[in-house]
């Protein structure tokens, strides 16, 4: 098991390195330096600025310098938010984004799996069709369309929920989390239904039924566990999708998370902030995939731990 984990960890390192390298050289190939927007500063000041930010060193030295910093979690200063380092901005936004993302994933798993399982048990019934039609809608309509529509209906017309903000009341979190979770609920429901139908036809389920195991126990002990495997392996892509989705959801609802900093940074050409967030998101997604791989290894005896 340990060697399996280590091997996966070792596989993640080149990916991270490529992400950092790509991000760095892309940014450096950008036309114009980070201080070009400033009023013309005296040459001495410019020279000092360049010296402080290592902009005069040869490119590869700058790269090593950045890489060294990134390994220690230091992404340099933000060019837009003067008094903050990129790391501080990420640290400030992360708890909010994490709460939002994890709640959305949790919601997606519980609701998605239940809906999928119900649809599979009642295959080709009205419930099944309703669940699948809803899932199709959830998958097709992107969350940057769904979020304003939900706000329009529940916030503006029905006055049931606040349309934005964060942290003042729990009801504020409701719409963003639902909007973020909906596509994932839909995907997971479809996945669960598909694998559940397959599992329900399998021999071990027939055996369980034949020996007189109550349907409820058969489901909880045998079927659901086996049917969850594809869902588990989908959690990696799901976390990536939730992270991407959170960018636009945070923007729409005015939530002070990393995604919002990222968009602001991108619009303001805050190179270091954008680069830092890209690397942070990259490592986050890779870690999620790693964790999911390891969990999958535990769950599925067919995976070789060599």
């Amino acid at each position: 098991m340990l060697s399996f984990i280590l091997k996966r960890l070792a596989g993640a390192i080149p990916t991270l390195l490529i992400i950092v390298t790509l991000a760095f050289f892309l940014i450096r190939s950008a036309p114009g330096g980070p201080f070009d927007k400033e009023r013309t500063v005296p040459p001495e000041v410019a020279a000092n600025l360049n010296a402080v930010y290592h902009l005069d060193d040869p490119l590869w030295e700058q790269y090593l310098y950045y890489l060294g910093g990134a390994i220690q979690g230091d992404f340099g200063p933000s060019f837009q938010y003067r008094d903050f380092s990129v790391t501080e901005l990420i640290a400030a936004g992360f708890p909010v984004s994490l709460t939002l993302g994890l709640t959305a994933i949790f919601l997606a798993i519980t609701i998605g799996v239940s809906l999928g399982a119900i649809a599979a048990l009642k295959q080709n019934s009205l419930i099944d069709y309703a669940v699948m039609a809803t899932a199709m809608t959830g998958i097709t309509i992107p969350n940057f369309v769904m979020a304003p529509l939900l706000t329009l209906v529940f916030g503006v017309y029905l006055h049931m929920l606040p349309v934005g903000g964060w942290g003042e009341s729990i009801s504020q979190a409701f719409l963003p989390i639902v909007a973020l979770a909906l596509p994932q609920i839909a995907y997971i429901a479809r996945l669960t239904r598909g694998s559940m139908i397959e599992v329900l036809r399998s021999n071990f389920v027939r055996t369980a039924r034949a020996k007189g195991l109550p349907e409820r126990l058969m489901l909880s002990r045998h079927a659901l566990k086996a049917a969850m495997l594809p869902v588990v392996s989908y959690l990696g892509p799901a976390s990536a999708a939730v992270i991407t989705g959170s960018v636009v959801i945070e923007q729409i609802f005015g939530i002070p998370g990393i995604g919002r900093y990222f968009v602001q940074g991108a619009l303001n050409r805050d190179y270091t902030l954008v680069m830092g967030v890209v690397i942070f998101y990259g490592s986050l997604i890779i870690s999620f995939n790693l964790i999911v791989d390891i969990i999958y290894g535990f769950l599925d005896p067919k995976v070789r731990m060599g």
Binding site: L22, I141, P142, L152, T244, V248, L267
Partner: protein, 299 residues
């Protein structure tokens, strides 16, 4: 199974007779799928309206009508979808948005098709260590947060529609490459490829004449699923303000503007949002239908 059938159909001398029958079969199966047929019709109508509409319709997409600022939909005044906050005709703007979305979808998917098919066919056909290295590269690429790299590109090089094409194409080829590689692996050991090799056909021509045509079925299915994917990403970027720039527009830009005005002018959100949703629905249904039609395994 699917491969077998395609094999007989498009391979070598029997091409004329059976080749048609496979695609005819697929076509017939597609016709029995009501959702796909309806989607095809709806999509074609949307494309036609989007392409021809702006020529016929008298209002230009960037003209400001000072008397009709943020006017509700009004057939008599000639503003079918109303006007936006700047007093521009939303109907014509939506049509332009659809044009841009479809264009991005087609071109970027085309780019990904070319890269993915070439890469996958070479990787699968050559095999061995080359295949291993090439696919390892795809694996690494897969775990990249590509959406963010596309945003990074937009930040650095400015918002340029050609860059969007290239960037999205470069992102979306990975799955295509995997699909084609899988096909190529199974096709390259067939008798007719062996026969071609024995009669001295060059590797390049074998890939071009035998491997790629026989791998087309799954590729077509995946293309119809990639187009909505690309349209979605472009809208996502435009929504964030990182895509197409004013006065040109796209569905993402319109939805973003509409979302800001939805309390006072809900139509500015509803029309572009429905247009995008309908287009995405159509592509998804067509993709599903094609998959069922071209892949007899599931039947």
């Amino acid at each position: 199974m699917a491969v077998d059938m395609e094999m007989k159909s498009t391979g070598s001398a029997e091409k004329e007779i059976q080749g048609r029958s496979l695609w005819q079969d697929a076509f017939r199966r597609l016709l029995t799928n009501k959702a796909s047929v309806v989607s095809c019709v709806v999509l074609l109508s949307i494309v036609l309206i989007a392409v021809i509409g702006p020529w016929i319709h008298p209002n230009p997409f960037d003209e400001v009508y000072w008397d009709y600022i943020q006017a509700a939909p009004d057939i008599e005044a000639g503003f079918y979808f109303g006007t936006d906050t700047n007093g521009r005709d939303l109907f014509v703007r939506t049509l332009f948005g659809i044009r841009v979305s479809l264009l991005v979808g087609l071109v970027a998917t085309g780019v990904s098709l070319v890269i993915g098919v070439t890469y996958g066919a070479i990787s699968g056909y050559v095999g061995g260590r080359t295949d291993h290295i090439m696919m390892r590269f795809v694996d690494i690429m897969y775990s990249m947060p590509f959406m963010f790299f596309v945003i990074l590109l937009m930040v650095i090089f400015g918002r340029n529609i050609f860059l969007i094409f290239a960037a999205l194409g470069a992102v979306e080829w990975l799955t295509m490459a995997r699909i084609v590689r899988g096909q190529a692996l199974s096709i390259k050991n067939r008798e007719f490829v062996e026969a071609a090799r024995a009669s001295g056909v060059s590797n390049f021509n074998i890939i071009r004449r035998h491997i790629i045509p026989n791998a087309l079925g799954p590729v077509i299915v995946y293309v119809t699923l990639t187009i909505p994917q690309v349209i979605l990403i472009e809208s996502f970027l435009s929504f964030l303000g990182l895509g197409v720039q004013e006065p040109m527009t796209s569905l993402g830009v319109l939805i973003s503007e509409g979302a800001q005005q939805m309390e006072s002018a809900p139509w500015t959100l509803l029309f572009p949002a429905s247009a995008l949703a309908i287009i995405l629905f159509c592509f998804n249904f067509i993709g599903d239908g094609l998959r069922d039609a071209l892949d007899p395994r599931d039947r």
